[in-house]
Amino acid sequence: MPSVALDSKNLKSFVASTLKQAERVRGPVKDKTGTVLADLSAKSELAFDFANFKLPIKREFFPQCEVISRFDATGSRAESPADEAVVIFGVRPCDTLSLSFLDKVFVDEQYSDPYYQKRRDNTLVVSMACNSPAATCFCTSIGGSPNSTKGSDVMMFNLGNSFVLESVSKKGEAFLKKNQKMFRDPTPKELQKRKQQEEAAEKQVGKVNASATPASLLKKNDSALWDEIAETCLSCGACTFLCPTCHCFDFYDEKQGDGGTRVRVHDACMFATFTREASGHNPRGLKRDRMRQRIMHKFSYAAENFNEMFCVGCGRCIVNCPSNIDIRETITKVNA
């Protein structure tokens, strides 16, 4: 389907019309803390002047905690996955790229995660190309781009007075068709501006030499490098909880009387308790070992299992690490 255009003044009515097509519509709005992804109403003012959401998009499909089964004295029953149609606006291309990675982990011919899969099937992701990447962005070095459409259903380009939209998936094509009354054909000038913006954004993204990382890591298992990188690590989970590709989880049981619930909750390999065994022994008792795990998982094991490096270059871990451990420097050191 060729691209279509939407005048900015019609954005609200476009959102209002999608509200009739889905149970929930989410998008970027301003609150006290900045721009956040929130449920929209017909009155919501969308804000597109942000670099990225503080919280990664994985949380929309793989929430930090969710009940997966309920039990009592008679047995246990699996919780049915939530079933509601959702549209999400304003997702950055790095975050949609992360969804294409998580799909490989959670949706498989043999084993699929019903909770993730259901949400993924029921959700339409409208991504927004990045016009002004942040100083901590490095997506182009790691297989992404400010204009990448991977993992998205519809791609939107913000031209100021109007938007250009393009379908990426079949689901996206049907969505644009359903709302075609909202759109007009883009002018040649708009298409030209879109191209210029794309090129300008690409150039603006910082560079890191990352392509050899999986091969380099094979030789770094016992390296003293890990002591050096992990020296100032506090063992908190800011990097992993805010990482769009980190997907480790744990379970705990919430007991009430004779029954209770089994809950799945995000885990972080940087926590000192991450692989602590029942005996008290911990094969990754040192933070150097946990740092190695985090980097190896992203750049070596994922490369081996899925042929992808599980990093999208969003820079969240760089911005939010209390000790400013910079993954770009880690990549550079590994490859040195």
């Binding site: 100083a135 506090l234 760089i318 209390p322």
Partner: protein
């Protein structure tokens, strides 16, 4: 410009001091700051040999409290090791960090004879922005309200201009306390709801050195790792109450939090209570042990029986 020049001078003196300590093997390493990877930022750095000191910096972005690294460095090896020697550590401190270090000594987490405390002049720090698009210029509230930018009882003092101590009037806490309980609860819930349970506050806090945090215990599991309100509240209340009479109001927790939770509102309440009820300002008043580690007949008990009273 004048301020920058003075800071550079201070930085030079710091490097000379650290170099000497490392060169004559007084210490095995000096924990200080080096330039951060983002503009207008500094980050923790372990200088292990005399060449490393050239990386040490002192500027207005040295906000982190480096004392948080100390307790782990003095943990004994898990297996007996006859070659083990207790390390000797030099640590660069501001007033608040120094109060933390001396607090850790008092609580027997750090052997005083194995540390060299290098006190820096502090004019207030600018914490790194947690927004990828903006850098902050504002001096932290903790610094504006700091009652003790310089401290006694340290080993080496690097000269320079420091902030004037603020008067601890706890005006914000008094205002908070004057609100009805429902409103205070609403505010508490509003802030705490932002929490993603990443433990950055706990790990950045020098006082959070428990070998196994109550929040990590499994038998019994006092609190789950979920980011649901009941669990998050228990985690924060538990952590905060462990800080009563110990918190030096350095805001390491505030600066570490990726979600921008105003933890200071709550830690300061503890500090104001410690002062009002027990006459203790941790690290400033001359207490042999933290206020809640000791007992006196005339101690106030109203916080248990009638929290609305003073």
């Amino acid at each position: 410009m004048a301020r920058e020049h003075k800071m550079q001078n201070t930085e030079k003196k710091l490097r000379e001091t650290a170099k000497k300590l490392l060169a004559d093997h007084t210490v095995d390493c000096v924990i200080g700051f080096k330039d951060g990877s983002r503009p207008k930022s500094s980050r923790p750095f372990f200088a292990r040999n005399p060449q490393d000191v050239e990386k040490l910096v002192w500027n207005m972005y040295c906000a982190a409290n480096l004392a948080t690294f100390l307790p782990k460095l003095f943990e004994k090896p898990q297996r007996p090791n006859k070659d083990y020697k207790t390390p000797r550590i030099g640590i660069v401190v501001k007033g608040c960090d120094g109060r933390s270090v001396l607090g850790l000594v008092k609580e027997k987490q750090v052997p005083r004879e194995n540390i060299v405390i290098i006190g820096m002049p502090c004019t207030g720090m600018v914490p790194a922005s947690k927004n990828e698009k903006s850098s902050s210029e504002e001096i932290a509230r903790a610094c504006v309200e700091c009652v003790s930018p310089t401290i006694k009882g340290i080993d080496i003092v690097i000269d320079g201009e420091s902030r004037k101590p603020a008067r601890a009037d706890y005006a914000r806490i008094k205002k908070f306390e004057s609100k009805p309980a429902e409103e205070r609860w609403k505010l508490f819930v509003e802030e705490i709801s932002k929490c993603i349970r990443c433990n950055a506050c706990r790990e950045a806090c020098p006082n959070c050195y428990c070998k196994v945090c109550f929040a990590d215990q499994k038998k019994p599991a006092w609190v789950s790792p979920a980011n649901v309100l009941s669990e998050t509240v228990v985690f924060h209340l538990g952590r905060m109450f462990h800080q009563a009479g110990r918190c030096v109001e350095c805001d390491a927790c505030v600066n570490a939090c990726p979600m921008g939770i105003d933890l200071r509102l709550f830690t300061q309440k503890l500090a104001s209570d410690a002062k009002d009820l027990f006459g203790s300002v941790p690290g400033v008043t001359d207490d042999a042990v933290p206020a809640l580690n000791t007992f006196m007949q005339d101690d106030s008990e109203c916080f248990i029986t009638d929290p609305e009273e003073k």
